[in-house]
C-alpha cells in the first residue's frame, strides 16, 4: 500500500491497537472480531468503515495486515476529524488527531484514545460524552509530543505511563483500574529501589501502553522514581525529575473520574514538565534496550521483574537453596516469607499464586514470582487473582511453553474487573504475547536448567526416539519419559556394551534376554530358557515400546489423559539386573544384544555360529560327543560374546580338537559351582546342539590345544585324562552347568593364552573356591549395579510424576477454560 508515515505517537498507538487486535499473533488481523469492534467503536457510519476497509486494501487481501491496519486507523482518524477519505490524505494531513474509539468493552482502548488524543490536543479533553476514561494519560501524551527521537518520545511516554499509574493506583476512578491501594506518595522503598528505577526507565523507554498498565508494580516503580526525582536532574534522573511535578497533580487527578476540570489543570502542568523531560532526556535512555523493553513490556509490565530485582531474588534464593536448579521446600519458604511480616492469609494467597506446579516447593522462577508479589504487596499493591503472566514460571517443563500463550487470555478475560492486570490484558494482549517471548528468553534457561539431568536423559532418549517431543511437549512429556526404564536400559546397554543401540527397541529386546540370563549367558546358550524369559520381557518391552509410540501419537493428538494412562505401567525394574551380569559377559552381552537385536534370543543363537563354524567344519570328525561338543563349540564358535568359553576356544580353534574344547569346558565347569551355571548350561547345551558338530570336531582334532585345555580342565576337574571322549560329555555337562560362571573366570584366564589356561587350571580346586567367591562378589556387584539403576529409575519416575502433575495442572486449566459451565 501507500507508504505511510506516522508520527511516533501514532506509531505506538497503532501498534498497540494492532497487537490488541492480533489475538492470534499472526501478524495479520482478520476482518472480524476485535477489528470490527474497534472500527465500530470509532463511531463512524458503517459505510465509512467499509470505505476505509476498502481503501486500506484489506478487502483485497481479505485480512488486515499491519500496514493495512495502520492505514485503516489513520483513515478512521481522518474520517473522525471530518476530512474526506482519500488515500492521499494519509500522508498529507498534518497534525491529525489520533483515531478515537469509544469505549465499548475496551475501556483501556478508550483510554488509549484519550491518551493519544490529549497528546494531540494539548490538553483538550475530549468530551466526556465519549465515555472515555478521564485523561490522566493526557499528561503522558504531552510528554510524548515533541521529542523527535523515539527514545525520547518513548521515555516521555513512559512518564505518562508512570504518572498514570500512580493516580490509577488509588483506583478512585471508575475505570477498571487496579484496586491496588497504592498511594502515589507511598514512599516505602522496596528491597531494590535502585534496580527498579533503572528498570523503570527502560520500560518507560517506550511503552505507550503504560498508561493502561496501572499495575501495582508500576506504581511501585513510580514511587521509587519519586525519591530519585527529588535528587535532581541528571541524565539518569532527569526522567524522574520530570515526574516530581506530576505526582502531586496526579493526586488531584485521582479524584477526577469523569470531570474535566481537575484534569484540565494537569495538562497545563505537564507541558512544562514534559518539556523538561524531553530536554533532560538523554541519549542513554534512548538505548535500544528501550525499544526492546517497549516491545516486551506489556501490561504485565507492572509485574515484570527487572534484572536487578531478579538478581536480588536469585541471591535470596541462594541463601536458602544453593542449587539454583533445586527446590525450596515449603517449610523453608514459609519461614522466609514470614519474615516479611505479611499476614499469613496473604502469604498463603501468594503461595497459591506462585507455586505453579503445586508441588509444595518453589523453583527459582516460582520463588522469584513469590518474592515479587511479596514486595508488591508490601508496597501496597493488591495481589492479583491470577498469577500475572510475567511472573509465571516459564517452562517448568518444556511442555509448559504451550501453556504460556494460553495464560494471557486467561488473565485477560477471566480476572475480575477489580484487578489491574486482567483488565490491562484486553488492551494489550500483544504486549502480553511479546512479554512471554521475552520472559521465556529470560527465564527459559532457568527452567531448563532445573531439569538438567532429566532433560539430558530425556534428550538422549528423544534424539533416539522422539525428536518431536519438545514440540508436542505440553501435554506429553510423559510419553517420552514413559519409558525411563527404557532409557535406563538403553543407557546401560550403551555403557556396558558400547555398541550403538540407536534403535530404542532393540536394546529393550536385547535386555530381556540379558535379563533372562543373569550370568551373561549367551543367548544361544540359553536358547530355551532365554526364550521363555525373554519372551516375557520382550513382551513387556514391546508393551513399553508400544506405549511409547502410542503415547507419542497421543501427545501429538493432544490426548493427554490417555497418554497419562498409558504411562501408568512402567517396565519392571528387574530388567536392569541382567545387564549387570558377570563381567566376563561383556562379550556375551554385546553379542547377545547384537544378536538379540532382531528381538529374539534365537537370533543370537544363529548369530553365533557364523563366525567360527566354517573353519572347524572341515576338520571335524564324527564324535559321539558331537552333541555336547556342538554345545560347547557352538557357544565358542558362535561368537565370543555368547560364551566365555568361546573366546577361550576361538583362539585355540585352529588347533582345536574336541578334546581341547572339552577340556576347556571342563576347566570352566570346575570353577563354577554356582547354580546359575545350570541355566547357562542348559542354554549352552541347547545352543550347542543346535549349532552342529562342526566346531566340536575341529576342536577334537586339535590335539595340542586340547591337551592344554584338557590339562587345565582335567586338573580342575580332578578327573582323568580329559581327552577321553566318554568322560568329556560328562564333564561337559558339568562344565556347561558351570560354563557361564566359569566363563568369566575362564574367559579372563584363558584369554591370556593357552599357557595361562593350564596355569589357571592347576589351582583348580582353590580356584573353584575362589571362583565361588568371585562369583559371589560378582553377584554382589551386580546387585549393587542393579540398585543404582533402580535408584536412577526412581528418580526418573519422580521426574515423570512431576511432569504429570504439571500436565494435570495445565489440563485442568484448559478444562476450566473450555467448559466453564460444565463441572457439576
Amino acid at each position: 500500500m501507500e507508504s505511510l508515515t506516522l508520527s511516533d505517537v501514532e506509531q505506538k498507538y497503532y501498534s498497540d491497537l494492532f497487537v490488541y487486535c492480533d489475538t492470534d499473533n499472526t501478524k495479520k488481523v482478520a476482518s472480524n472480531g476485535r477489528v470490527l469492534d474497534l472500527f465500530r467503536a470509532a463511531q463512524l457510519p458503517s459505510e465509512v468503515v467499509l470505505q476505509i476497509t476498502e481503501l486500506c486494501g484489506a478487502t483485497r487481501l481479505g485480512h488486515f495486515g499491519r500496514s493495512q491496519f495502520y492505514i485503516a486507523l489513520k483513515l478512521i482518524a481522518i474520517a473522525q476529524s471530518g476530512l474526506p477519505l482519500r488515500v492521499e490524505s494519509l500522508n498529507s494531513v498534518k497534525d491529525l488527531p489520533l483515531p478515537r474509539f469509544v469505549v465499548g468493552k475496551n475501556e483501556a482502548e478508550a483510554r488509549h484514545a484519550a491518551l493519544y488524543q490529549d497528546a494531540e490536543s494539548q490538553g483538550l479533553y475530549p468530551p466526556s460524552s465519549m465515555a472515555v476514561i478521564p485523561r490522566p494519560p493526557g499528561r503522558g501524551h504531552q510528554n510524548k509530543k515533541g521529542p523527535p527521537s523515539s527514545s525520547s518520545s518513548s521515555s516521555s511516554a513512559s512518564h505518562p505511563a508512570l504518572e498514570v499509574i500512580q493516580p490509577l493506583a488509588p483506583s478512585v476512578e471508575a475505570q477498571p483500574e487496579p484496586t491496588s491501594p497504592v498511594i502515589s506518595p507511598h514512599q516505602s522503598p522496596p528491597t531494590s529501589p535502585h534496580s527498579w528505577r533503572k528498570h523503570k526507565r527502560q520500560h518507560s523507554g517506550g511503552n505507550p501502553d503504560r498508561q493502561a498498565v496501572g499495575a501495582a508494580a508500576g506504581a511501585v516503580w513510580t514511587q521509587f522514581r519519586e525519591p530519585p526525582a527529588a535528587q535532581g536532574p541528571g541524565p539518569v534522573e532527569g526522567i524522574w525529575a520530570s515526574h516530581s511535578p506530576p505526582p502531586p497533580s496526579q493526586e488531584s487527578w485521582v479524584s477526577f473520574t469523569a470531570d474535566t476540570p481537575p484534569s484540565s489543570t494537569l495538562p497545563a502542568m505537564h507541558p512544562s514538565s514534559v518539556q523538561e523531560n524531553t530536554t533532560i532526556r538523554t541519549v542513554a535512555s534512548a538505548s535500544t534496550t528501550n525499544e526492546i523493553q517497549r516491545q516486551s513490556s506489556s501490561y504485565d509490565d507492572a509485574w515484570k521483574i527487572t534484572d536487578e530485582q531478579r538478581q536480588y531474588y536469585i541471591n535470596q534464593f541462594k541463601t536458602i537453596q544453593p542449587d539454583l536448579t533445586g527446590f525450596i521446600p515449603g517449610s523453608a519458604a514459609k519461614e522466609f516469607f514470614t519474615k516479611s511480616k505479611l499476614p499469613i492469609l496473604e502469604l498463603s494467597h501468594i503461595w497459591e499464586l506462585s507455586d505453579f506446579d503445586k508441588d509444595g516447593a518453589l523453583t527459582l522462577d516460582e520463588f522469584c514470582a513469590a518474592f515479587h508479589l511479596v514486595v508488591a504487596r508490601k508496597n501496597g499493591y493488591d495481589l492479583p487473582e491470577k498469577l500475572p503472566e510475567s511472573l509465571m514460571p516459564k517452562l517448568i517443563d518444556l511442555d509448559d511453553s504451550a501453556e504460556v500463550p494460553e495464560q494471557p487470555p486467561d488473565v485477560a478475560y477471566s480476572a475480575s474487573p477489580v484487578e489491574v492486570t486482567p483488565n490491562k490484558s484486553p488492551s494489550m494482549p500483544s504486549l502480553n504475547q511479546a512479554w512471554p517471548e521475552m520472559n521465556q528468553s529470560n527465564e527459559q534457561w532457568e527452567t531448563f536448567s532445573e531439569r538438567s539431568s532429566s532433560s539430558q536423559t530425556l534428550t538422549q532418549f528423544d534424539s533416539n526416539i522422539a525428536p518431536a517431543d519438545p514440540d508436542t511437549a505440553i501435554v506429553h512429556p510423559v510419553p517420552i519419559r514413559m519409558t525411563p526404564s527404557k532409557i535406563h536400559m538403553q543407557e546401560m546397554e550403551l555403557k556396558r556394551t558400547g555398541s550403538d543401540h540407536n534403535h530404542p527397541t532393540s536394546p529393550l529386546l536385547v535386555k530381556p534376554p540379558e535379563l533372562s540370563e543373569e550370568a551373561k549367558l549367551t543367548a544361544s546358550m540359553k536358547f530355551v530358557a532365554a526364550n521363555t524369559v525373554g519372551d516375557g520381557y520382550s513382551s513387556s518391552d514391546s508393551f513399553t515400546s508400544d506405549q511409547e509410540p502410542i503415547a507419542r501419537q497421543r501427545s501429538q493428538s493432544g490426548a493427554s489423559p490417555e497418554a497419562l494412562k498409558v504411562v501408568a505401567p512402567p517396565p519392571p525394574p528387574p530388567r536392569p539386573q541382567p545387564s549387570h551380569s558377570r563381567s566376563s559377559s561383556l562379550d556375551m552381552n554385546r553379542t547377545f544384544t547384537a544378536s538379540s537385536g532382531p528381538g529374539q534370543p534365537q537370533s543370537s543363537t544363529t548369530a553365533f555360529p557364523p563366525a567360527v563354524p566354517p573353519r572347524p567344519l572341515p576338520t571335524q570328525t564324527s564324535v559321539p560327543l558331537t552333541g555336547h561338543r556342538v554345545e560347547a563349540e557352538a557357544v565358542p564358535a558362535g561368537g565370543a560374546a555368547l560364551t566365555t568359553t568361546s573366546p577361550q576356544q576361538i583362539p585355540q580353534q585352529p588347533n582345536f580338537a574336541d578334546f581341547s574344547q572339552f577340556q576347556a569346558l571342563a576347566a570352566s565347569e570346575q570353577p563354577s559351582s554356582l547354580p546359575e551355571v545350570d541355566k547357562h548350561s542348559e542354554a549352552g547345551q541347547v545352543e550347542k546342539i543346535s549349532e552342529g558338530a562342526g566346531p566340536l570336531r575341529t576342536v577334537k582334532s586339535d590335539g595340542p590345544a586340547d591337551e592344554r585345555t584338557s590339562t587345565t580342565v582335567n586338573s580342575a576337574m580332578c578327573s582323568s585324562g580329559p581327552l577321553a571322549p566318554p568322560p568329556k560329555p560328562v564333564r561337559r555337562r558339568l562344565k556347561s552347568e558351570d560354563e557361564l560362571r566359569p566363563e568369566d573366570e575362564q574367559h579372563g584366564a584363558q584369554k591370556s593364552g593357552i599357557i595361562a589356561a593350564p596355569q589357571t587350571a592347576q589351582p583348580s580346586i582353590p580356584r573353584s573356591v575362589g571362583k565361588d567367591k568371585k562369583a559371589i562378589q560378582a553377584s554382589i556387584r551386580r546387585n549393587k549395579e542393579t540398585n543404582t539403576v533402580l535408584a536412577r529409575l526412581n528418580s526418573e519416575l519422580q521426574q515423570q510424576l512431576k511432569d504429570l502433575l504439571e500436565e494435570r495442572i495445565s489440563l485442568e486449566v484448559q478444562l476450566e477454560q473450555l467448559r466453564p459451565f460444565s463441572h457439576l
Partner: protein, 139 residues
C-alpha cells in the same frame, strides 16, 4: 449445581462450609452435621469388608424430599459433603464424582501450601473459586 458444599476435618469439625446464600444456611449446616453420621457408618462398614482399599466416593448418603446429600471421604478422614437440590435431576453420579474430584484436588492444593496449618479454616481464594464454580448459579 450444589446448594451447599462442606469440608469436614477428621475430628468432625468443619473446615469449610458454604451454602447458597439465599437459603437458610443454618438448615444446611444442620444437614451436613447429621450427614456425618451416615458418613461414619459408611466408612466403618466399607472398612471392614474391603480392608485397606476403600472407595473414596461414598455416593448418596441420604435423600430428603428437598435435596440429596452426597459424601466423599479422603484417606486422611477428611470428608467432603455436597448437598444438591432434589429438583435438579440433571446431575448424574459421574458429575457428582467429578465435583468431588475437583474438590479433592483443590483441597490438596490448599494442603500443599506451607502457610496453611492443617485444621485451620480454609481461606484459599483458589479453593473458594472452585467452590463458587460448583455452587448453584442462582445469582
Amino acid at each position: 449445581m450444589a446448594v451447599c458444599i462442606a469440608v469436614i476435618a477428621k475430628e468432625n469439625y468443619p473446615l469449610f462450609i458454604r451454602s447458597v446464600p439465599t437459603q437458610n444456611e443454618l438448615k444446611f449446616h444442620y444437614t451436613v452435621h447429621t450427614s456425618l453420621d451416615v458418613v461414619e457408618e459408611k466408612i466403618s462398614a466399607v472398612g471392614k469388608s474391603l480392608g485397606d482399599q476403600r472407595e473414596l466416593y461414598l455416593g448418596l448418603l441420604y435423600p430428603t424430599e428437598d435435596y440429596k446429600v452426597y459424601g466423599y471421604v479422603t484417606n486422611s478422614k477428611v470428608k467432603f459433603v455436597i448437598v444438591v437440590d432434589s429438583s435438579n435431576t440433571s446431575l448424574r453420579d459421574n458429575e457428582i464424582r467429578s465435583m468431588f474430584r475437583k474438590l479433592h484436588n483443590s483441597f490438596t492444593d490448599v494442603m500443599c501450601n506451607p502457610f496453611y496449618n492443617p485444621g485451620d479454616p480454609i481461606q484459599s481464594k483458589a479453593f473458594n473459586g472452585i467452590v463458587s464454580g460448583m455452587m448453584v448459579q442462582t445469582g
